[in-house]
Structures are given as structure tokens and as C-alpha cells.
């Protein structure tokens, strides 16, 4: 293999698994260290810079970082990254004076359609640069799906309000209760650019299922129902509730139903439970509220008696997989299963819908009737119109929407300044030795062996009695510290300088996880078979040095490196050094 090019920031970026997996590339280990130091404001601001909604995301993020966390490969569970973010948000003081200064108006004007996370992230980027920002949303307040689809027992309104208002207070002109019904007419106004962050607003239904029309009064599409609850239009539900679907919306539906009077609330999914799309922790929380999951039940019909919904029938199936792993659901041939119910909530997915976008405005639509959007610039085929969040590529999550918003803001800014929007700004990168003295580091390199700490919950009875009572109490400062200490500091990189190495093997000998090897060079596939420890995770890179004096090379498998710094402590010539790598995605403002 060729020597690893550590000058390319993407190499070390990839080693910081959590940050790399985060769509917004939040510098996770950095803020976790700050939490451990009790510097909550600093930790919060690092988050805010990257993801705009630390308090929200610290509660409801889909956490792509956690499955990626190296800790999860070293022991059982990853660091509770998401809940640590909340520790920063819960314990911060007033940070308003740290928000970006608003520059003088630059004479450019943009419109944002939808007041969800994507649009707000664009506003956060452009408003400080002096843009006039008009924000349109059909609801009476900002937040989009963060408000309408996420129940307040998971995300209290105050938390959302605070972070939405940080942005609205940047001088955004809001046009709430204003449904944009024509992009054409918006384009005819004097906007220099328009950003569409209108989400994926159409919940899927089961229109053809027998009895659907007759039972309509008691059958609801999940996201619409959640929205109706969020804005207090719906305040109760029947005692027996069936929730169809296995995603996070289904989990929110059933838990909300439990709080509005549902006593026998069930989740019914077509697939085996292990294939449910909902995050494992959301399934856990639902199960903890006495909500059973019925797997392998395919909806067959709604049962109507005297013009009223009384139950549903399901066909039992079993999953079979072909050699490509493609699943098919085979009916078992058993009798249909009848489940009695008063109400049904359908949460089987959601789709985009752009009835308000005219098709003759130079904005092309492609597959699935989705707008054609550039994956890097988020520009549509109409150069003044940009998309982001669920509206761009279909339903995803808050953190992805924020990442889109950041990039779209850069594009819009470049476009409005007459620059080439395909010329993207490089990330802000730094690599700095952490050596303080003889075997002393600026970071705490001691490895903590604690298991993942559980977030305390309020008592179930209390929680179920109050729709607005937040179920999770969050880590307090002490637990937050304990959990923060589990972080392996993967951003403190092991940097190897080949011409200093005397090949004494001290690093190889001391490495707890046997990452470091000195061996003859070869192709990657061959090298992986010759390393001291098994090297089966092809996703994890090998760090290869230049040729050493004995013509061998140093090969380090990054996979389970603990970043404990022992290699550097035991190195007599400082060929190994622990250097903190910081990587920050450049933002518009």
C-alpha cells in the first residue's frame, strides 16, 4: 500500500467515527470533553455552530453517531452521545451574546418555504450575513415537524421555542399561517433566491383496504393525528387503539395514544419485529409503556359494525429471504386474526407532495415526482430555487435537514454574490500535538471502563397521566460527567513520523488492542491477513507509514484503537504523537 496521506483531512476525519457519521459533522469528542470539564456553554456553542438545535437534537436525534461510535466496537454499547448533547443544553447559561452578530443588510432577499429545521438552518446561515429573510409556514409557530410530529413528552415546547427563537430573533420576517400555494408567484416577487424546506407532508394511508371509508371517523393518518394533538385540536382517543407501522412515527403515535386515554394500545407491523424501522430506544420506550408489538400481521380489512369501526382483521405471514437477502412475506394460511379496536392510527410512512409547485417554471421533476436537486449544492434546475430537508430527497431526520440547510445557505450566498456555487469551501482543519511534557497530555487519556449509563425516566404513572411531561429526565451533571468519561477521544489522533522510528516495537507491545504492526508492505487485502490482530472491518482504514530502515512499514488498523496514547508514551523517539484533529464544516455565516 502507498503511505497514508494524513495531509488529506478526510483521513483523520474518518477516524472520528461519530463526527464522520453525523450528517452535520458535529465535533462530538470535543464537546464531550467540554461537558466533562463542566464547560456547558462552550459545549453547547460547538453544537450550535454545527447543528443549530442542540437542545432538540439532544432529545430526538436519530443519532447516526452512536452506531458508529468506536466504543460500541470495543465493548457492548456506544457512548450516549445524544444524551450528552442534552446535558450541554440543559446546563448552559444565557448564550445569546455568543450568537453571530447580524451584519448590515446586504440588499439581498431570500424566501424560505416551511419553518422546519432545514429552513431555519438556512436562515441561521444567511441572516447574519445581512440577508433579508422571509419565512413562510402554514402553522402559527415555527419548528415544522419538530413541533407537529414529535410529541411534547419527548421534546418540550420550551426547548424547541428557545432554539427556534434564537434564529427568528436574527431579524427574520415570519409569515406564519401562510400556506404557500404557488412557487411561481413567489418567484415573481423580488426574491434573489428561494429555499424550499417544506418537508414530506403526506402521510401514507390504506385507501383500498376494505372498510376504510366506512370507518373513516375513527381511522387517522399518524402524522396528521400527531399534528392535531400537538396543536391541541385532538384531546382524546378510544380505549382500544391499533397503531399500524413500525417506524418512529408509529412509536410516537402509540405513546401519545396511551396519554390520551388509550388503555389497550397495540403496535401491529407487517414485518418481523427485528426489521422495524424505529430506533431501538424508541421501541424500548414504547414497550416500557405497556405497548405490545404484534409482528408479521398484514392489515386485511377494517371491521365495521353499524357504520362504526369495531376492529381490524390481519393476515398472518412469515418472512422468507432469498439468497440476496430480499424479503418476502408468505401467508401462513392461518385464520385471519381479529383485533378489536376503537381507533386506528396509520403510521406506515410519508411522502413528498409538491402540488404548489408549477411544472412550467424551469424546475424539473424526476423519479417519484421528486424535484431534481443537486446533492452537493441543493440547487434545483431553476437556479434561484434550492431544496433541503425531507423536501429534497424524501423523509429523513432533523440532523440531515440541518446539514442540508447549511450547504444550501452556502449555495444561496455564493449564488447571490455571483460566485460559482459548485466551488465549495474547504473545511476548517487543524492538527495539534497534545504533548504537555514528558508523557503528559492535554487530554485525559485514561480509559474509563464503565458501562453505558442509563438516562433516568419519570415514573410511568406520572408520565402517562400528562401529555406534556417529559419522560426522560436527562443526565444530571454527575451522570453526564460519568458518561462523558466513556468517550475514547477518537479525535486525538495517533500520528506517526516514520523517519523518527527506531523499530523498537514498544508501541506494538504496549497497544492494548494490538492495532500496531511492523511488517513487510503489501496490498491491502494481503496486509489485513498478516496483521497481529484480526482485521476484518474493511470500512476501517489501515494507516500505513513510509518505508522504515528495515524496509518494513508500520501498519495500524484504526478499527479498535482506544486513542489511549500508550504508543506515544512508550515511544522513545516521539515517532508517535497524540495530535488533536479538529474538523469543522464551513458555514455561510
Amino acid at each position: 500500500m502507498k503511505p497514508t496521506d494524513i495531509k488529506n483531512p478526510e483521513y483523520f476525519h474518518k477516524v472520528v467515527d461519530c463526527q464522520y457519521a453525523c450528517p452535520a459533522h458535529t465535533p462530538v469528542p470535543e464537546y464531550i470533553r467540554l461537558i466533562a470539564e463542566g464547560r456547558y456553554d462552550d459545549a453547547y456553542m460547538i453544537n450550535w455552530e454545527s447543528n443549530v438545535f442542540p437542545g432538540v437534537l439532544g432529545r430526538v436525534c436519530d443519532r447516526p453517531c452512536e452506531p458508529a461510535c468506536r466504543r460500541g466496537r470495543v465493548e457492548d454499547e456506544p457512548v450516549a452521545i445524544c444524551r450528552l448533547k442534552r446535558v450541554a443544553a440543559d446546563n448552559k447559561t444565557d448564550i445569546k451574546d455568543r450568537l453571530p452578530e447580524i451584519q448590515a443588510k446586504n440588499g439581498k432577499k431570500v424566501a424560505l418555504v416551511g419553518a422546519g429545521p432545514a429552513s431555519l438552518a438556512v436562515a441561521r446561515g444567511l441572516a447574519p450575513l445581512g440577508y433579508d429573510v422571509d419565512l413562510y409556514d402554514e402553522q402559527e409557530v415555527g419548528g415544522g415537524f419538530m413541533r407537529s410530529q414529535i410529541p411534547s413528552f419527548r421534546l418540550p415546547a420550551e426547548v424547541l421555542d428557545e432554539e427556534v427563537n434564537y434564529i427568528l430573533d436574527m431579524g427574520i420576517t415570519t409569515h406564519f399561517k401562510h400556506y404557500v400555494d404557488s412557487l411561481k408567484s413567489l418567484l415573481e416577487k423580488d426574491y434573489d433566491a428561494i429555499f424550499v424546506g417544506s418537508g414530506a407532508p403526506n402521510g401514507r394511508d390504506l385507501p383500498k383496504l376494505e372498510g376504510r371509508q366506512d370507518g373513516d371517523e375513527n381511522i387517522f393518518v399518524g402524522i396528521n393525528w400527531l399534528e392535531s394533538v400537538a396543536f391541541a385540536h385532538t384531546k382524546s382517543i378510544g380505549k382500544k387503539v391499533l397503531v399500524l407501522g413500525g417506524g418512529n412515527t408509529a412509536m410516537d403515535c402509540c405513546r401519545t395514544a396511551r396519554r390520551l386515554g388509550g388503555e389497550d394500545v397495540r403496535i401491529v407491523v407487517r414485518s418481523p419485529q427485528k426489521e422495524m424501522k424505529a430506533s431501538p430506544w424508541e421501541i424500548e420506550d414504547a414497550v416500557a409503556e405497556d405497548i405490545p408489538i404484534y409482528e408479521n400481521h398484514v392489515p386485511h380489512s377494517f371491521v365495521i359494525e353499524n357504520g362504526k369501526l369495531v376492529g381490524m382483521k390481519f393476515e398472518k405471514v412469515r418472512a422468507e429471504y432469498d439468497e440476496n437477502g430480499k424479503r418476502s412475506l408468505i401467508p401462513t394460511g392461518e385464520d385471519l386474526v381479529l383485533m378489536e379496536c376503537d381507533d386506528v392510527l396509520i403510521a406506515i410512512g410519508q411522502d413528498n407532495a409538491f402540488p404548489w409547485i408549477e411544472r412550467d417554471i424551469g424546475l424539473d421533476f424526476g423519479k417519484w415526482d421528486m424535484p431534481v436537486v443537486d446533492e452537493v449544492t441543493f440547487q434545483s434546475t431553476n437556479e434561484r430555487v434550492y431544496f433541503g430537508g425531507d423536501a429534497a430527497f424524501g423523509p429523513s431526520n432533523v440532523i440531515t435537514a440541518v446539514a442540508h440547510g447549511h450547504q444550501a445557505a452556502i449555495s444561496i450566498h455564493k449564488f447571490c454574490q455571483g460566485e460559482d456555487i459548485t466551488d465549495r469551501p474547504a473545511p476548517d482543519v487543524n492538527l495539534l500535538s497534545q504533548k504537555m511534557g514528558f508523557h503528559e497530555w492535554t487530554y485525559d487519556n485514561h480509559i474509563d471502563h464503565d458501562k453505558r449509563h442509563l438516562v433516568p425516566h419519570v415514573d410511568k404513572e406520572l408520565a402517562l397521566a400528562n401529555l406534556k411531561l417529559e419522560v426522560e429526565k436527562g443526565f444530571d451533571q454527575e451522570l453526564g460527567y460519568e458518561e462523558a468519561m466513556r468517550c475514547l477521544n477518537c479525535d486525538v489522533q495517533t500520528v506517526f513520523t516514520d523517519n523518527l522510528c527506531i523499530e523498537c516495537d514498544a508501541c506494538t507491545d504496549v497497544c492494548p488492542t494490538q492495532c500496531i504492526n511492523f511488517t513487510d508492505n503489501g496490498e491491502e487485502g494481503d496486509l489485513r491477513t498478516r496483521l497481529i490482530a484480526p482485521s476484518n472491518d474493511q470500512e476501517q482504514d489501515l494507516y500505513v507509514s513510509g518505508e522504515l530502515k528495515t524496509t518494513r512499514v508500520m501498519v495500524k488498523d484504526e478499527n479498535v484503537c482506544l486513542h489511549c496514547g500508550l504508543c506515544a508514551e512508550r515511544c522513545p523517539t516521539a515517532a508517535w504523537d497524540m495530535q488533536k484533529f479538529s474538523y469543522s464544516v464551513t458555514k455561510a455565516g
Binding site: A506, A533, L566
Partner: protein, 350 residues
């Protein structure tokens, strides 16, 4: 400075025949100087014991005094250990071995502990052919007392102080061969590919096995003018050949036609397969080994590898004709069989 090593290990660490991972053979985090060759030797001992699937509780690690003699703290935490008096590890090990012949004895010592203060004990230990592995971590200086030349420093070699050594060095391998040791090897801490099989062979050998390991002292003796530096040894190392250890049940399949391949069966059925160049030395012949060592010295080479092997030698227990049961397990009944037995013995001597 870290004084603890994380207990996290590679989640896919392989296991040996006993179901142990290498972690089960490790010790505490070393407090020797960073880069010390001794740490590599400690690790080679860990590797060898792991690969041989030795039960840790059936190993005793013995040492005297010195940097080298600290190392038993850094390997085999689950084994017996005795950190004895300076230069007196041989007699303590002899006593231990007499008491319990069933343990594997791994002695580690330094050039001071062996070639200076312990020289008398060392020579008699070799003569008695005690069944043990004796590893000398040889760096040519007294590291613990700030780097004075030791008895194994070569004439003309100078340490960091810059003053060339004036005295003839002691060659522990030559000494051991001439005193009848049946397993004598020299190696280099920076060459685990060679050292680990040598330690495994030494453990399997019945009788005294010496491995003299050049182990650079990074703090006092790793300068280019030193013949015990990483650089010098790498540049002047000559191997007698390579070898691998084949457990009894395994067949040898790969052979290099350009090499002479010899198979020597050890006491317990394990085979040592030697691969060497046709014109290289015959290690079973004491005389040719001794002259090869002298010749290498003339050519400023460090001859490494297995230098001498004689599987016919008798260990102390064989010589003394002791019983198979370890002495520490003999009961009062065994030791005092009663007046009838005494009478029978007396009768036999009439």
C-alpha cells in the same frame, strides 16, 4: 504518565487451545524506559506461552536484580514469580525446581545479574543442567546505576558517555556451550519472528536452555558507537538459520529445496525443524559452533538463532535420579515409609 493499561482488548482476539487470549498471559504496564528492548522480550515470552497454550499457573518466573529482573512484573500476571537476590536467581530456581519439577521455570536476568555478580551461580547452574529457560536481557550496560559498561560490553564499544570499553567481553553463549548446555541461542529483542520460536523451543527443551538476547538500552547505550544498539545489531546480525517448532501431531509440508532441513525431536515428541543454508553451521556440533562464534566475532557480526542443540543431555533430575512426583507433593507416608521399609533397606545393604 499512564500507570494503568486499559483492560479493553481486541474484540476478536484469537484464543489458544486452552481458550485463553493473549491477554491472559500479560502483566502490568511496564515502568521501564520507553523503547527498552526488555519490553519486547517480555512480550515475546507472552507470545510464546500463549502460543504453546501453557497453563499460566504452571509457570514460575524467576529473576534477580536489575532492569531485566523487574520485567516479570510485566508478563504472566497469572503465574508464580520470585524476584530474588542479585545474581542468586540460579540457586533460588534450583531450589524451586527441586521442590516442584512440574512447573515450567522461566528465569530472566541481565548482563550484570548474570555475567558479573551472578557469574559463579550461573556457571554452576549450567553445569547442573537444571531444566529451565534462562533468558539474558543483554544490553551491555548497568542501566539501573546510570549506564556503566557491563561485563558483556564489547571491547571498543562505547555507550552514551562516549568512552570506549577497555575490557574483553564475556560471551555467555560460548560459556554455556562449553559447560554443556544442550540448548543455546542468541537473539535480538527487535526480531520477534526469531525470538518467539527460540523461547518456545527453549521451554520445550529438557534441560538448561540459554537465550542471550541483545536488548538495546535506549537511555544509555543506543548510540551508533555501541555494538548493542538497535542500529548496529540490525546491520551486523547474521542468523544461523531459521527454525520452527512443530507439535508432535503435525506433519511438515512445506520445505525449501535450497535449504537443508533437519528435524530434531525433543524430549516430549515436539520437533524442531531447522532450515539453513548448505554451507552454514552444524549446530549439533559443539566445536564447530564455538569456532563459528569466534569467527563471527572477528568479522564484527552478531551470530543469532539457535546456536547449539543437544537433546541427549541429562537434566538435574535425571542426574540425581529423583522421583517423578514433585518433592513438594510427597506426603509423610511417602517420606517415612515405616520400620518395615527401613528394615528392608538395611537388609539390602548387608
Amino acid at each position: 504518565m499512564s500507570y494503568l493499561k486499559s483492560t479493553f482488548r481486541h474484540p476478536e482476539s484469537p484464543k489458544n487451545d486452552l481458550g485463553y487470549t493473549q491477554a491472559n498471559y500479560e502483566g502490568a504496564l511496564s515502568t521501564l524506559c520507553a523503547g527498552c528492548g526488555h519490553d519486547s522480550i517480555s512480550n515475546s515470552i507472552i507470545n510464546a506461552c500463549y502460543e504453546l497454550s501453557l497453563e499460566p499457573h504452571k509457570i514460575a518466573k524467576m529473576s534477580g536484580i536489575g532492569c531485566s529482573s523487574k520485567t516479570p512484573a510485566y508478563f504472566l500476571s497469572n503465574s508464580h514469580g520470585f524476584n530474588s537476590v542479585h545474581g542468586r536467581m540460579p540457586s533460588v530456581t534450583t531450589g524451586a525446581n527441586m521442590g516442584n519439577r512440574d512447573l515450567t521455570y522461566i528465569g530472566v536476568s541481565g548482563d550484570g545479574d548474570t555475567a558479573s555478580i551472578g557469574m559463579g551461580q550461573f556457571m554452576h547452574l549450567v553445569r547442573r543442567n537444571l531444566n529451565m529457560v534462562y533468558i539474558v536481557m543483554n544490553n551491555g550496560v548497568y542501566g539501573l546505576t546510570k549506564g556503566q559498561d557491563s561485563a558483556t560490553a564489547d571491547v571498543g564499544s562505547s555507550s552514551k558517555k562516549g568512552v570506549p570499553n577497555m575490557y574483553e567481553p564475556m560471551d555467555l553463549c560460548e560459556l554455556a556451550i562449553s559447560l554443556g548446555s544442550g540448548y543455546v541461542a542468541r537473539s535480538f529483542s527487535g526480531d520477534k519472528d526469531q525470538l518467539v520460536p527460540l523461547i518456545k523451543g527453549a521451554i520445550k527443551h529438557n534441560g538448561f536452555a540459554l537465550i542471550d538476547v541483545v536488548s538495546p538500552c535506549v537511555t544509555f547505550n543506543n548510540n551508533p558507537q555501541s555494538t548493542k544498539s538497535y542500529e548496529w545489531v540490525r546491520d551486523h546480525k547474521e542468523a544461523t538459520g531459521t527454525f520452527d517448532l512443530v507439535p508432535e501431531e503435525q506433519e511438515i509440508t512445506v520445505q525449501n529445496p535450497d535449504q537443508i532441513n533437519e528435524s530434531i525431536t525433543l524430549h516430549d515428541g515436539t520437533k524442531i525443524n531447522l532450515h539453513r543454508q548448505p554451507d552454514s553451521l552444524d549446530i549439533t556440533c559443539r566445536e564447530s559452533v564455538l569456532s563459528a562464534l569466534e569467527e563471527a566475532k572477528q568479522n564484527k557480526q552478531v551470530l543469532t538463532g539457535l546456536l547449539h542443540l543437544n537433546t541427549d543431555s541429562n537434566s538435574t533430575h535425571d542426574i540425581l535420579n529423583t522421583c517423578d512426583t514433585p518433592l513438594n507433593r510427597l506426603t509423610e507416608e511417602d517420606l517415612c515409609p515405616g520400620s518395615d521399609a527401613l528394615e528392608a533397606l538395611n537388609q539390602s545393604l548387608r
